[in-house]
């Protein structure tokens, strides 16, 4: 596992040495900033509800954009051939790259703390939901990125990787919006699978282990599958 570190470092550098990181972060902040400023002052409530309402939606597009190149680019340039012929476990490659994407996501979210400071200075803010909201954002983003990493492992085309990841992520996003169409006995199961349902729970400021376990197992499953795809080449 000590091989995770060099892969992580290289990947993070690749993000920040190229325009990718800056474009992603800038557009994300413009988007959320616009929603924050147009709605917050109208609503007149000292909370982050507006921001936490819009960010999950932006994640749908930003996370596949962050992860699309992770594996597919390496496959395309042939670098993967070098990586997998080194004495490194496939999972180390996946985890190193995944963590770099996660670091970029965190770097993307951190500037939104400016909104928190604004809110806190304007009114009496309840800290619990804000902390919960950020934890939820990171967990949900982490789950999206894991799915994106899996999507990127499937193909050597970044465009295909983006679309596949987006479709999977969007399916998870839609699940709890379709509940009213489902027969009653299915609702609780589908609800548990839905990615935003757990976010809403955590964002209320109530941290339930079930929600955490949901995200962690989704991340583990997606990364496991990505590693399997990489290793699939090695099986007879």
């Amino acid at each position: 596992m000590q091989n995770v570190w060099p892969i992580f470092k290289r990947e993070l550098r690749a993000y920040f040495d190229s325009p990718i990181a800056y474009v992603v972060i800038t557009v994300f902040l413009l988007f959320t900033g616009w929603f924050f400023t147009t709605n917050f002052f109208v609503a007149g409530q000292a909370d982050m509800r507006v921001v936490f309402g819009i960010i999950p939606f932006t994640f749908l597009f930003f996370t596949p954009a962050i992860t699309m190149r992770l594996i597919s680019e390496e496959r395309k340039t042939g670098m993967m051939e070098l990586l997998v012929t080194m004495p490194i476990h496939d999972s180390a490659i996946i985890i190193g790259k995944y963590l770099a994407a996660l670091a970029l996501l965190v770097a993307m979210i951190i500037p939104t703390l400016v909104y928190v400071i604004t809110v806190a200075s304007l009114g009496d803010m309840d800290v619990g939901p804000v902390l919960g909201g950020y934890l939820g954002l990171i967990l949900m983003g982490a789950a999206y990125l894991a799915i994106g990493t899996f999507g990127s492992s499937l193909t050597d085309s970044q465009v295909v990787a983006f679309i596949v990841s987006w479709v999977i992520v969007f399916a998870f996003f839609l699940l709890d919006k379709t509940l009213f169409l489902l027969p009653g006995w299915m609702v609780s199961y589908v609800e548990y699978l839905a990615i935003e349902y757990h976010f809403q729970n955590i964002a209320r400021g109530v941290i339930d282990t079930r929600d955490i376990i949901y995200y962690l197992s989704l991340i583990a499953l997606a990364l496991f599958l990505a590693a399997r795809v990489l290793a699939g080449r090695r099986r007879r």
Binding site: N3, G78, E81, L82, V84, R234, R236
Partner: protein
């Protein structure tokens, strides 16, 4: 060091490698020779644990690529055919990255990177980005990458492809120098490369081994096939008889050429002998006039063409 046994790899219907077996001894430079698409790269990808065989096994230093692939990968330095490099990194950073991945300690990394810079003559491009490098330098970075952890075995897939003649000579010398201590397997479809660098050649065609012998043996076999073309005038009967008596002459056959004033003979000599002097004396004794005498050595090219003829397409000119 490397033992390949009954290796088979199929892509869909097509057999890329078909039941091949050979061994590579420690300290040997093996030339893996064959036309494009013969199965060289596939075999190398299996040895380096990039992909598994459909049947058969490869062991490297006693470890199987199927069961102990991590151990195998530790022992091998690999330069793939496409020579992948991170084009946005500079040479030193890239080598450092590879050394990191190979798990070299910080001190060792510095020492090895310095050695690689010396061995591969990279000092002029150290801090250049890889995308600014010429093909020759990129290839050297690829070699440096493959050797950074001082592996016992080097697998080089077409190491001189796309280089200019001077660079080719440089890289060949480098490989030769490395081969003194290491086991090297290099693939190529250029015969002179094998002649220039290798101890042994395995020739593969359509996924099968068609020849496997040391270069000395191969050379001797070739000399065994030496023939002498002789053109004389003033000869009566019994030329074949007289020539056959000369030591070192195996066979004499008269050939009929147009536009030739005299008679022509094709003489096959036995391995390791050169009977041209004796032929001259014999001619003087018999009163023949030699109009021409030339010796033809079959080149490695001829052998290669003969062995792989079925699949060779005329090279694009």
């Amino acid at each position: 060091m490397i033992e390949i046994s009954n290796l088979t790899k199929t892509y869909g219907e097509q057999k890329a490698v078909d039941n091949i077996s050979f061994k590579v001894e420690k300290g040997e430079i093996l030339g893996f020779l064959g036309p494009n698409g013969a199965g060289k790269t596939t075999t190398m990808k299996i040895i380096t644990c990039y992909m598994p065989p459909n049947a058969g096994d490869v062991t490297v230093g006693g470890f199987s690529v199927l069961d102990d692939s991590i151990e195998v990968r530790k022992m091998i330095g690999y330069l793939p055919e496409i020579n992948p490099l991170y084009s946005d990194m500079n040479v030193v950073d890239f080598l450092k990255y590879i050394a990191d991945l190979r798990g070299l300690s910080e001190d060792l990394q510095i020492r090895r990177i310095r050695e690689m810079i010396d061995v591969c003559c990279l000092d002029e491009v150290l801090h250049k980005n890889i995308n600014e490098l010429s093909k020759g330098y990129r290839q050297r970075v690829g070699l440096a990458q493959a050797m950074i952890h001082d592996p016992e075995i080097l697998i080089l897939d077409e190491p001189t492809i796309g280089l200019d003649p001077n660079q080719v000579i440089d890289i060949r010398n480098l490989i030769k120098q490395l081969g003194r201590e290491k086991t090297v397997v290099l693939s190529t479809h250029i015969l002179s490369e094998v002649q220039a660098t290798c101890d042994r050649a395995v020739i593969i065609n359509n996924g099968r081994i068609v020849a496997d012998s040391s270069l000395a043996d191969l050379q001797r076999d070739l000399e065994g096939k030496t023939s002498i073309n002789l053109e004389i005038t003033g000869a009566e009967n019994g030329v074949e008889e007289r020539l056959s008596k000369i030591a070192g002459v195996d066979e004499v056959r008269e050939v009929f050429l147009e536009n030739s004033g005299g008679r022509s003979f094709r003489i096959t000599s036995s391995p390791g002998s050169d009977p041209r002097e004796e032929i001259f004396r014999c001619a003087v004794e018999a009163g023949w006039v030699i109009m021409g005498m030339s010796r033809e050595i079959r080149s490695l090219e001829d052998v290669f063409h003969q062995l792989t003829r079925e699949s060779i397409n005329p090279p694009p000119s």
